[in-house]
Symmetry: C2
Subunit: 658 residues, 2 copies
């Protein structure tokens, strides 16, 4: 119908023309903007439409004009799963008429005919109404059509009448935006989570003894006491014998060397089996329950690769690539060879069989109580597989969370996030300078990326002991902890290596740990006085008490006059929670300088003094204005994590700070 005159363009957010969903958590509002306009000078009206998957009926809310033909509306996501939204607009003849009528009256024009036109519009609205509204509209139409002009025109301009007519718009020529855009609503843990990774076999306490799930239960209390909510365990499956690696990745293991947990599969089973030395399935389920009792969750590792001893190798040889000499192709990154690992071949003729089996594996662990999966190297498996797997699993279990462990090229990482991974590892570990951190986190939080990529920041992992940590001593560990826990609503540490300050590399220039737990059992002295345990506990408590730190969109950096001083704030969208962070990035020297805040953005008045309360170090400072002085000694505490407190004047002239 060529009479549909309204245009709807530039709907935001919209990822790749609606090909991918934006991400939210239940309870969030989805704020949508669009350009909506018509030819000429007629007023338009528009609504934001939304519905959850499986619902036929759209809900709708009127959008508000922002000026320059831009409109905004918001809707809440109230349950897990997929939603869709779109926009509809139409020419609003009554509003146009009313706007013009005001002008005509001001210009003292004869409005006799205009009032008749208005009466007709109201009459038409009455035909779309029912009950009392219809009756009132019909009455109003009559009142506009006859009687003294003064009385008719004041009736015509009544705000209540406009509101009533507005409830029965003529949408016969309404235009619907051409796409329905998806939102995936997940649970809060998708947005805000504190992770702790440890090796189950290193929990026995006594050096050399293989830890069990029962030992892990005890370790959970230690982890819970620091305020973490996700405990991520490296693979818990039987470990292969063929080409097993010894300590420090050597090719000559001793008979008692346990091998790498990522070398999955032996005669004892594969991805749905448990390594016998850890315990039984019943032990595992008890561990899951214990975590839950401590308000934590167990996250398992999904590492889709097999040792030569994995049952799949015999049962499904077609899932592997074969070489002309009849052998199976092991993993390689030429010139490196990983003969202990057979990659799965996602170009297998039986790719559907492979996909279904891998889905079965994930559903198996879901049945045993797991709801969070950390996925190992997803970027070396086919993208369509992940998109299918995650959507299949979440269709049945909308609360399941997948963390993508892809340290690879940026577009690959973003694609994995778009196609469904709930959270993603990042380049954080290698972003150390003020420029690097500012640029990277601006990209992650202030561009479209934030709609689909949820960063999870790790200062260390079993594969990553950065140079900064190797050489920076305690100030480096503290600084990186504060950055991870405040720049990221989700962060994690690999412990106890982290809190105990393990910083010895396998060799100079290597990011591998010396005597890495990947290849041997370690025992850790948890009560070492060096431990950052208390600091971690404190920062996790601050995170829990500060909605500002539980999301990433409200990040803002501020200029400082010292390149070693990084300053940023996080704020909840209503500014009810604001946290200001200042970090000295220099691990060796005290650094001082002036920071330049944006008081408006922080919700502070330029004229009034305010108190900043360092919830990390407990200091309190009285500041006023945008420019303020900071000085941080890395050997004491290299960071401030401030709460901003406005001054409140009481009746008795006694000031305190909110």
């Amino acid at each position: 119908d060529g009479r549909r005159r309204v245009v709807i363009e530039r709907v935001k957010p919209e990822i790749d023309a609606g090909r991918f969903a934006i991400k939210r958590v239940v309870g969030d509002a989805v704020q949508v903007e669009a350009d909506v306009f018509a030819d000429g000078h007629d007023a338009v009206a528009c609504v934001l439409l939304w519905r959850s998957l499986g619902t036929d009926r759209w809900s709708e809310i009127e959008m508000e004009p922002l000026g320059n033909d831009r409109w905004r509306g918001a809707f809440p996501v109230e349950q897990l799963g997929l939603y869709h939204y779109t926009v509809e607009g139409w020419v609003d003849r009554f509003r146009t008429w009313r706007k013009d009528l005001v002008t005509r009256i001001e210009a003292n024009q004869n409005i006799e005919i205009e009032l008749i036109i208005g009466a007709q519009l109201i009459e038409a609205a009455a035909q779309r109404a029912a009950g009392a509204d219809r009756k009132e509209l019909l009455e109003a139409a009559r009142q506009l059509a006859q009687g003294p002009v003064d009385r008719r025109s004041s009736r015509a301009l009544e705000a209540e009448l406009a509101a009533l007519v507005h409830r029965y718009p003529d949408r016969s020529l309404a235009v619907r935006y051409e796409r329905e855009l998806p939102v995936r609503a997940e649970r809060e843990r998708a947005r805000f989570s504190s992770w702790y990774e440890f090796f189950p076999r290193s929990t026995a306490g006594a050096a050399g003894r293989h830890g069990t799930f029962a030992d892990c239960e005890k370790r959970l209390e230690y982890v819970a006491s620091m305020g973490f909510d996700v405990v991520y365990l490296p693979p818990i499956h039987p470990i292969g014998q063929s080409y097993r690696k010894g300590p420090n990745n050597s090719l000559t293991p001793g008979p008692d060397d346990p091998g790498s947990p990522w070398a999955i599969g032996s005669a004892e089973g594969g991805h749905t089996a448990i390594h016998p030395q850890l315990g039984t399935m019943a032990d595992f389920e008890r561990l899951v329950a214990r975590a839950r009792a401590l308000r934590m969750e167990i996250a398992l590792d999904v590492a889709l690769q097999c040792t030569p001893d994995h049952p799949y190798v015999k049962e499904h040889p077609s899932w592997f690539r074969h070489r002309p000499d009849g052998t199976i192709q092991y993993a390689e990154n030429p010139p490196k060879k990983y003969q202990d690992i057979y990659p799965l071949d996602f170009e297998s003729d039986d790719w559907e069989g492979l996909w279904n089996e891998l889905k079965r594996v994930v559903l198996f662990w879901i049945e045993h109580g797991v709801r969070i999966f950390r996925v190992d190297n997803p970027h070396t498996k086919a993208f369509p597989f992940w998109e299918w797997l995650i959507s299949e699993v979440q269709a049945q279990h909308a609360d399941v969370i997948f963390l993508s462990e892809a340290f690879t090229r940026p577009k690959v990482m973003y694609r994995l996030a778009k196609l469904g991974f709930t959270q993603s590892y990042t380049y954080f570990a290698w972003r150390n300078t003020k420029e690097e951190l500012t640029a990277y986190f601006t990209e992650l939080t202030q561009t479209e990326v934030r709609e689909y990529f949820r960063p999870n920041l790790w200062p260390n992992t079993p594969d990553i002991l950065t140079e900064y940590l190797q050489f920076g001593g305690r100030p480096a560990f503290v600084g990186r902890l504060v950055l991870a826990a405040t720049l990221g609503a989700s962060y994690g540490i690999y412990g106890p290596a982290f809190e105990l300050g393990d910083n010895a590399p396998r060799s100079p220039g290597s990011e591998e740990y010396l005597d890495s737990e990947k290849y041997q059992i370690r025992s850790w002295q948890l009560d070492n006085p060096w431990s950052l345990r208390e600091l971690i506990t404190r920062i996790n408590r601050i995170r829990h008490d500060s909605p500002a730190l539980q999301q990433d969109a409200g990040l803002r950096f501020y200029p400082t006059d010292n390149p070693m001083i990084l300053c940023y704030s996080k704020s909840s969208s209503d500014l009810s929670s604001v946290v200001l962070v200042v970090v000295n990035l220099d691990v060796n020297h005290t650094q001082a300088g002036w920071i330049h805040l944006d008081l408006d953005a922080l919700g502070m008045h330029a004229g009034a003094p305010f108190q900043v309360h360092d919830e990390l170090g407990d200091g309190r400072y009285l500041w006023q204005g945008a420019r303020n002085y900071v000085e941080l000694n890395p050997h004491t505490l290299p960071a401030h994590v401030f709460r901003l407190r406005r001054r409140v004047r009481t009746e008795r002239d006694f000031d305190y700070y909110l």
Copy 2:
């Protein structure tokens, strides 16, 4: 098929997910970029595909990697009309194998099996080849499979072999981008045009006598002598009698007052009739032919509105909106009333009849030789109508050009351009300061807008005599002329008012001309010595000689240390044509300052001196380095239009500048 592993994203250019075409002219290359990548470390290959409308077969060209998973390719548009393009990519197993082989050889690994694998890949390529290529590939496969390893590996690494295999890729699992993106290829005039508008009835020379098409023929020579290529005539149709406007828009015309040409329609006919005082259809056709002989084109005005006397009013009353008192709704912009104009109602029940008639009008004038239309106020007619009309007309006559005269909100102007208008009027007339000009032309030429919105810059029109021209004297006219003609590949002036410096407004604060030609016949003293005719001739010659000025994408602004000095360059994409413009925006005082060029962007070497030759004022200056001094007296000439000339050292040690 889940084995299709390649991802294709962020294809650029792409307007609104392919909803609208980008614009090019025949002879242009369409440069396309895309993110193309796969999981893991396999090499990928990709091609840019394109075809013209009505062709089934895609042409293709290999895309080149730019790094960071970004690829680029280009294709030429060689004929008028619509093209489509898309991107296809696949995992390149041979290239992956070859890359790995080099690494393995460098690491002294046993490559026996690898060579067999390579032989198999080449054998498979042979199956996709034919003739001599197939034979050579089969032979190469044999050579790789047997013999001394040294000879086999050097054969394997031959570049010619790689190139040959590359011609027969395995595209069985190739991925095609999900959209085919449109390009509209138009003729060169769509991109580069110099317009001159005049009122046919003011060409008689003698005051008061109504000009004819025969008089216009003489005027064409004058216009052609200045180097214009499009002559735009306000409406040439019969003018209504009802509510006719008198001089200066008065409501009390005398019996001989000619009325406004935009008040279209009388007993003598409507949009396909010619105002009798101008001449006959034969006269008009002779005018069109005369213009063509002078290498110019006549552009007609499409003003879709009717006077109460227009034949449509009686023949198609349903095309107008009726009021409750039985009268037809005249045009209004409350409180203003335009009783001489009835707008067409695009919400008419007979909208299809209306659309078809308006298309007939345009086709009528095309049949009489017109190929360029300037459309009056397109923003007050329905968008779907324009999209349909332009696409219907261009499907039959791909050389037809439509210029949108919409001075309205930015999104409305952009939408009209997207839906098909070839060129668009702009806000140029009201952009006077350095900041305004820089921001606006950066938006028009350095953002996605440039793909669909072709600006046409007018310093004046019969409706627009800006304050800057009213008060700026000759420097204002010269400055605005230089800006229009160099910032815009398309520009126009309304003459002779412009070149004769007419700057008297109807009243203080008004942008209307005093004694405007819209309402009365004027006679102009074309040989007035004040005239800018010669300067216009010179600037049009510079435009003709400089490919840099014939497109808008190559615009770049440079910092200057004086807010009154604006400096920018235009360059052809290969830098073979570069024009540097410096304008003093202050119409009263000499301004001087330092400009800071980007020599790389200009294709100049930082170390070598270069000559700048002012083709407007004829001065020549020897410059060196990025910072250079300029000084412009507005009363002499307020602008430089420099050609940059590199120094060439000859064998005889005699330098000159290219």
